[in-house]
Subunit: 194 residues, 4 copies
DNA sequence: CATGAATGAGGTTTCATTCAT
DNA sequence: AATGAATGAAACCTCATTCAT
């Protein structure tokens, strides 16, 4: 990856992040990247191609991390936390992707939408497999692995991104603790509580 | 509320919903509403004013429903479901508001953003009070009511909106059942399970 | 002339006077005239027709006054002053016509331009005839009557309208005196001055 | 000053001159200047800014010329002619400025109007000083220098611009001769004429 | 007749993309 | 390869005119 191309991609991410896709102009990106506007077209044939490139890059990075973070034979909760902690590194990129996925649904071609969705699907499927294994091992009660993984992932995203828009941000350990509290234990009264 | 004005608002909602704010053109709205482009400007002085009007309308409707749906002395889970079931009526509008809140952050004035956030806050606060009461009554285990209400609301939204983008949509009862399963009971193994 | 029609004409004159032809909207005219916008079209088929009607009306009024003011056998200067004094009554209308003649040149059809010009031409021709007679009678030195009448009329307009935009307005007698001073006597040194 | 920018300014002048400010479209200007419509916005942020730029440019040019044309110790009439002859270079621009000043009153900001007026004031004041000197030297009879300079300037403008709208245009010498005839000598009968 | 909501042609402005340097 | 001036399609908005009431 060329140095100029990288500067452009980072500038685009920053501006998409701040203003969104449609509201970001090529002029802004060029100014932030400190290159001429025309230079962008040396590396990307259009604004949309640039968006796709950013998304694809994110998917690839995501996959690498997810794979490298695959934990071995461990209780479910522990490996789940490890994966999510790793994902935390991508917190801000994640945020951007969520924003773009909202916006791109409106603009983008079906391929882009599919690419966007694949990011979340990737993670969800990884969690899904973990949950299935955990159920088989008797670490978790019976439940629909698809829905469960989907909801777990969403709760993670909610805690990392949406919560901090309203209140003090939560740190990694707090988030892991909360997911465990609500999801695994439940807050309903248990027999043992009496 | 005038008939033409209503047609325009609905057309705008539909188009914003599908394409987003920036990607929706006045021509599109006019075509969907089956009115002339100029007619829109009879009722709204600009595209942004139309957006604000739609948001304000939503805030008002939301408040009415929330207030009218206040259930009386009932076990927490039941009244919680009632409120959410009522909210379900606004499912699609809700979706639109979430989308716009993402996009409007970039365009809108702070007042609009505040108004947007107030919708979710309204609901979260309502749930929060319910949870506090439930904890006092011993219906729920001790937990942070703020975080809990936030996560419950988010899970509801995730199940209603995000899930159906990937899989078969879930009906009201399924959603209530799932929230109960994951949140209240938890999926971790309990002593009693053995 | 109908009452409503008169109200509309006066409203149009007022607004044209203040904002000019192009910058005056039919809405403004309707609001000032306190009639519905559609009512204007009961009396005038278009904005341009309304302009023409106002101009024509002015031409007619102008002619009436000019004719009624025709002075009989008198020294030129005296009858000239009489005519101009009469014209002074139309000062504000005059002002409007000058403004419109500037603007309409750009917008209007040739017919309108012709109509506009006819106002000034009317007056100039009247003065022209007076000057010719005065020359024949030996009241004035030989000079081109066309240019002279044109310049006299212009000087009158300049003194009535343009001067007051910069300084204190001049009254009728001052204006008559000035035209006499500059035009008839001249300010160059004469033999007799020595 | 850039070549393209100059072409645009000249095209705008031509079109403003012919059709006026409001009736001139950006498309027309672009077509006359043989540039794309967007190119105009590379040099001027809006139509109104373009108008202001043209006016400012005119004010500057006017001042330069007025200053450079200051004639030395000469009989009044001669130096007056020199100044006016110099101004003749700006004949068409002048015409445009007068037209715009009429129209801009409705549109423009007070600063623009002030700038516009300053052009004429500049010239009038210059003439005023000349007249005062001439009176002191006994070259002219006693008269109000302010009114006299104003009327002389106006007569010049009338002869250069307004006359040619109705009849054959007059050349420099004819104009100088006419101003002299009417203003300095007067057309009233003098004793010596008998 | 009187009205003003409805209309759409036409205006100003934005911005992704091209291309000569 | 790098640039940014130039471009025009397409966006938002205005307003003279029409027409159902």
């Amino acid at each position: 990856m060329n140095d100029k191309k990288l500067k452009i991609i980072n500038a685009a991410k920053k501006s998409f992040s701040h203003f969104g896709y449609k509201a970001t102009t090529m002029d802004q990106i060029a100014k932030i990247a400190q290159v001429g506007k025309g230079t962008i077209y040396t590396y990307f044939s259009s604004k949309e191609e640039m968006l796709k490139a950013i998304i694809d890059l994110f998917v690839v990075e995501m996959r690498d991390v997810a794979e490298s973070a695959i934990p071995r034979r461990q209780p479910f909760i522990k490996s789940f936390n490890e994966v999510l902690h790793t994902i935390t590194k991508f917190q801000s990129e994640h945020e951007l992707m969520i924003k773009l996925s909202q916006e791109v649904k409106e603009i983008g071609t079906p391929e882009v939408i599919a690419a966007m969705k694949s990011v979340e699907d990737e993670i969800c499927e990884f969690i899904e497999v973990k949950i299935e294994t955990a159920i088989e091992r008797g670490e978790l009660r019976k439940c629909d692995p698809k829905i469960t993984s989907f909801l777990m992932f969403k709760m993670y995203v909610n805690l990392v991104n949406d919560w901090k828009e309203r209140h003090e941000p939560l740190d990694k350990d707090q988030i892991a603790e909360l997911i465990n509290t609500y999801f695994i234990e439940g807050i309903g009264m248990k027999n043992e509580d009496y």
